[in-house]
Symmetry: D2
Subunit: 347 residues, 4 copies
């Protein structure tokens, strides 16, 4: 950390700060500049809040210089993490396609969708059983029954499955039925839930929170990893901005940047990012062009009759077209991405 | 809901939309305008997603006209809800002061703080035992031990207490020790937790999420109320914006607006809103001037030694000064607020 | 426009509103619903502020149903606008590449860059002569001298040129030297400047403002078009959000959506959107994958010595690689984009 | 500035960076830490872009430690700047009230308003003649005729006047009629305009841009001051956030913070901040409670007939009530603000 003193900080204040730094077990290096004095702190600064120093008299600001995440960082592991689930590969050379309805509505619906998305190129089947809804009066999902139908459908077509878990006490239940546990955007900082899925050894799909910074997102991954579960898949799903013409704003630069900062695989959810069927395909293409290693897409055999999120669901036919385009895009960028993009120094 | 058709929507598309509207149990009123045709939907539209229609051919957009919250609305209850906890009144004529440390650190610390904030004018004692922290490596609170110390301190000085609960499975435990359950900003859409506290009959302090709209905030209150618990206290604590000079941006207009939209009491947390001790007092004064009915303030006997959020904690002396100013401000606006502010038609 | 009445609006209030609607030359259609009464307004509503009605007693809200832009809308012109500048085509089947330094620094620098970007695939040469800088103490550009150098370089390599104009009184001067006038993000709502360039018959590259909604952006285009200049090129360059890890957040969904809403060509500026050289290529690829019809890219023969924005400038070699990838991406999405993306009903 | 090296930066990279630092005329201080090496730069770093270093191999990030504004800073001038215009005092002990219609519509309208606001407590008369409107089809103001009416009305009631200027070429014209030049939010980074008003010796009311950081706002003031005009009044008018229930989000913490960072007077515009008449009074009270030294308020004798912004205009009677409350609030906080708030070390 670097502490910047106020222009008119006194010698007494400087000494108090130096003393405090030492009391934290750190070694202070004082640099007297033309307009400001700064103090560099040397030592193990993990978990130290810069605001501890910022509230001291004579201090203008304190600036952390290290990312607060460790296990999720490329510093900790240089090579890409690749996650294998059944026959699916997430984080490998080709994009992974996770597709299915927002919510499992019936055995027939999920079974029909499973066949359709498998045929269209999906490698993982998604479907919600516990649905976090903004309104308590909206359809909340089928619960365990939905998980059963999802598992049946996955087995029938030979696809691993992913579904959301919203309550720490449901983690065991959901784990019995699905192959990947999903943490939704609204629960990205539900630390009790993060710790709980960290105690499993199941792959976890961690969505970025609506207003989470990249650093907070990686810290949420760190929560899971600090419990010993290293199989975390990051999912960019759009952030909340002033623009309301789309449901959220897909942050493609974050995808590219997280590929640099972390070894974890990164996928994108163009369905929630846009909230509009007619924007899902361009957004999905853009995400992969920016470096996303897979897509999580809402597909429904009859979107207009869907109990939730029908407006942003693709038909199987539209999904097939998207997969075709995305494959070509992934090939288009392969030479650059292999050599350059995720390695700043190579650019 | 109002459905706006595209300029060149066909008669066939119009008929399909009308059919769909009827299939939802609603009555369509078609208005043919100069440039656009619109359809007004009459009936019970609760929980109907506008995007259901927006994805249909010929539709430009669908606009909901009713607020989705019911129990939290002034439509449901015109007069202010007043919540009594011990001797404290929240939502009454005078502001309520909830003060104490971010985290309970020891029996001595919370006891010393309790005496100091009581003496300075606080009517409720706050203190965290389960701390949601961005980093898994930060101090996470004392847990049940912290709740015991908090309860002892509250009893010793005769103040009711408030503390955060982060896990649905902890609700019973926390309820045994405190008088008000706090839902933190990061859990504002943790629906499993909202439902669980809704099943108690304890007052709940519901913080606004970092990027929650006013409508989403009131919908979160609706989750609690829909389980039968009507004792919800809304707490504005700053929203996330592009400005990073302060930790968050205190949204004073939201305070004034929510006073109009809802009968629930509204308080503010100037400590988290600003993140800087030197801005807490002006922000707290501003919140009450805008209509806040109380303040939740971090106070620590020795802020510089605090294990968390010391940088934004006031000393007891500073807190006393704030209470003095806030009381005068509340009196300054009393004539206007009584007659006018929360009643649009009276302005 | 639709006016929604309050639940308890009186008959007298309804009549007052109806009277006001008629006084605006509009015809009111009253729909009495179960919970609310709404009034549909029929007639020419152009330029009418919904808040005129929202401040009336008994009104809950007023909702405009028409986009306020006319000339920029696909309603006004269904087919894509294609702009020809020299041999360059903007808005056609293939992406256009506008490349060059942030600022013209010397005759040698712009000449060297011109040859390099031409060779790498650029069809238009960019270079700033009047630079809007956040600090008055930063390099502000070479002014007219810079325009001369830019024009010379463009002529030497046979590329048309684009450069920013910041003052209405400079429009004539800049028009003498360049082929496309650029309006920067900070001036997107500098209406005096918009009107002035609207009075020319030069193509205008209109950057989206840092916090401009899509509607405001199209309204800015409308300002130019309302003066008779229809050659407007829209440029998405990233919006300001809470995320500070990148300079701005590239809004790829806006690109796809504006392709639907407007007939004007849309390009993207991945250099300003990201602010970091190592993210420019992924962001540029993403923009074209989402439907951008061209890229505006900062390229410098020696980025590390650039007087401004060197950190986000590509080398000519990096630019060449980007062009290669972007061409393949444009081909990858061609089948979908031709048939589907910009036509909602066809999806 | 502080440069933080990557974990695995090589000795060669370190030497290249050190060389670059020296070539910028700065002295590098290398600190070798446990996990990272950092370099402190000593010397005159004004105007140096951190991204110059961030693009170098081996660099993780570069962090500026000095605020980029000089003349606007409290470092440059410790005591508050007080601006006198006629009998009005801006930046003194009591709040200044600038009131009047959004737009001057006729001689009668501005004359009637002038008498009304004077009687209600205003010390400065506002009124727009050149109106920046989002739509080219909206009323754009009366131009010079409006300035004449405003000047007449100001003279008749003995109040100085303020009006917006939007074009550098209009500055001389507007200066002939008014006492304070206003720069609107959309022009806050219209640097040509800032320089031009900086060349006058007229007081300038500088509104904060919709998405301007506090630093950018102070840099805009710096543009004016760097031309020799030190009479700048800062005006917080709400920022753009994700919340759309109010027109903008009034940033009260920014008011308090700018009072610390700068010696310039700070006022607030609660009319534009909220966009709704029923929220103007609470927002105005909040602004003053946070430290604003004045208010800029839209007042119209008949708001419902106003040609622009009627929905957010107060009646003279409402304005009088606001002044009454605001005066009491200013007195309520006087003891704290005098001793403490704007002086961090004193807290």
């Amino acid at each position: 950390m670097i502490i910047v003193l106020q222009k008119d900080a006194t010698e007494k204040q400087l000494q108090d700060i130096v003393k405090r730094v030492k009391s934290c077990g750190l070694e202070p290096h004082v640099i007297v500049g033309v307009a400001r004095t700064v103090i560099g702190l040397v030592g193990d600064k993990q978990g130290l809040d810069p605001r501890v120093f910022e509230s001291m008299p004579g201090v203008e600001k304190a600036v952390p210089i290290m990312a607060p995440y460790k296990l999720a960082s490329r510093d900790a592991k240089a090579e890409d993490t690749v996650i294998l689930v059944g026959n699916a590969v997430i984080g490998g050379e080709k994009p992974a396609y996770m597709a299915g309805p927002c919510a499992v509505e019936s055995r027939e619906q999920i079974m029909e969708t499973a066949y359709a998305v498998k045929e269209a190129g999906a490698s993982i089947l998604r479907g919600g059983a516990f649905k976090p809804r903004t309104s308590p009066y909206s359809f909340q999902g089928l619960g365990e029954k939905g998980l059963q139908y999802l598992a049946e459908a996955g087995e029938a077509v030979g696809l691993p499955t992913v579904s959301e878990v919203v309550n720490p006490s449901d983690v065991d239940l959901v784990s019995q039925y699905v192959d990947i546990l999903q943490i939704g955007a609204r629960n990205m900082q539900n630390f009790a839930l993060l710790r709980r899925v960290g105690q499993t050894r199941m792959p976890v799909l961690l969505k970025r929170g609506l207003s989470a910074t990249i650093e907070e997102w990686l810290m949420a991954a760190e929560y899971i990893m600090s419990e010993g579960n290293y199989q975390v898949i990051l999912c960019e799903r759009g952030i909340r901005t002033f623009e309301t013409a789309t449901r959220n704003t897909l942050d493609v630069s974050a995808i590219a940047l997280v590929r640099q900062l972390s070894h974890l695989p990164v996928v994108a959810d163009p369905s929630h990012a846009t909230g509009r069927r007619d924007l899902v395909v361009p957004a999905g293409c853009a995400a992969v062009a920016a470096g996303a290693q897979g897509l999580l897409v809402e597909v429904h055999p009859n979107p207009d009759a869907a109990l939730s999120d029908g407006a942003q669901s693709l038909t199987p036919q539209q999904f097939r077209q998207m997969v075709r385009a995305v494959r070509l895009i992934a090939e288009s960028i392969a030479p650059e991405s292999a050599d350059h993009w995720w390695n700043k120094n190579a650019v």
